[in-house]
């Protein structure tokens, strides 16, 4: 998998990944509250994107969903009980998906499920080794979202600007320009993140998804979920420091090998 050739993950990257994932869950809770999802479950509002065949649950069940979501968000933000928080997050998002299907809920579910895979590996790998193949899977997910989003947009005539015109009432030429800009930005972000310009790519993602969320406040959870995935591409230290660090580590290991051949390699805790 070509993304596994990127710089190895380090503890700080993972901490930021979990924090941003926690913010995404908190944003889901906030947007649910702000947009009146409670009133959907009391029957006042139309059950938006409710899947047919699954009964709409009561507001008490919604309270359980929101409590699980809040606890998962708190756990991920604080780094306490990560494993339990991830499982609780999966439960909360599954409950939410059963009531209202949305792409951002699917994305959150995928990221949470992929993140829990780490805890299914042996304890030594799960707790000590930050570089686990499930995070490569999450990096791939970022490429998949951008790649298929672009493909779907191109296939459905997004470049005409009609969708932006209908959504925001912008003028024809401005809408066309914005549509082109969105597609270029969606192509640029993953390329930058994977081509040695990770920090630039991350800031570009912040700018792009910040704009999306400002234009459509319901998209804050999606934006933070994308940033959580993007942060996995960004090395914990600048590249120069990384090279210097590895050089120093090599020198140290050479010294260590000459003095104590059987010295075990130390691994950073996450």
């Amino acid at each position: 998998m070509f993304l596994s050739k990127l710089s190895g993950l380090e503890g700080p990257q993972l901490r930021w990944f979990y924090r941003l994932l926690g913010v995404a869950l908190a944003a889901r809770l906030w947007t649910d509250g702000q947009s009146g999802i409670w009133r959907v479950h009391t029957g006042e509002l139309f059950p938006w994107r409710h899947l047919p065949g699954i009964p709409l649950y009561s507001s008490s069940a919604l309270l359980i969903e929101w409590t699980a979501l809040a606890l998962a968000a708190l756990g991920l933000l604080s780094g306490v009980q990560l494993r339990a928080s991830l499982y609780l997050g999966v439960l909360a998002i599954l409950m939410g998906l059963s009531q209202r299907y949305a792409n951002q809920n699917v994305l959150l579910l995928l990221i949470l499920v992929f993140a829990t895979l780490r805890f299914m590996s042996p304890p030594a790998l799960a707790t000590r080794e930050p570089d686990s193949p499930n995070f490569t899977l999450i990096r791939w997910q970022l490429w998949i979202v951008y790649g298929f989003s672009i493909a779907n947009k191109l296939a459905h005539g997004f470049l005409s600007g009609d969708a932006i015109e209908a959504l925001f009432g912008a003028g024809e030429s401005l809408s066309r320009l914005a549509a082109f800009g969105v597609i270029v930005a969606e192509a640029l972000v993953p390329i930058l993140l994977s081509s040695g310009n990770e920090r630039v790519g991350f800031y570009a993602a912040v700018l792009l998804h910040g704009m999306f969320a400002l234009a459509m406040p319901g998209l804050w959870p999606f934006s933070f979920a994308m940033l959580a995935m993007a942060v996995l591409f960004v090395p914990a230290r600048p590249r120069a420091a990384l090279a210097e660090g590895s050089g120093r580590r090599n020198a140290l290991s050479r010294t260590a090998r000459s003095s104590a051949p059987s010295m075990p390699r130390s691994r950073s805790r996450t």
Binding site: F46, V106, F114, L117, P133, L137, A151, D162
Partner: protein, 111 residues
Amino acid sequence: MTPARLRSVCRALLVLNLAYCTAALFLDELPGWKMFESVELLDYVLEDVDGHVLDVHDALPASAHLTDAAQLRRVVTFICEHHEGPLWFEGTRGGHGEWLQSGACRPHVPL
């Protein structure tokens, strides 16, 4: 799960993921990473018997965005079912309208 097994599971999930997304790209009915790639311009009028205009967005969560006529029809049906008295629904581009009332709330006019 051994590290080798975990790697295989991750590879399998990636292949499934890519296969599903490719299928969703060609099949409109399948949900995929289709984020506002196509939004219909919906021009309509919804009024009660006294001529008061009703806004469908008042019956929707604030984060909802209507993107096609089928969604609009479902929301109008919901409003009609929760409204006392008949409603007039008209697709302004089609120029056709119809009265909706309890028992016959689903609009059929072209939009």
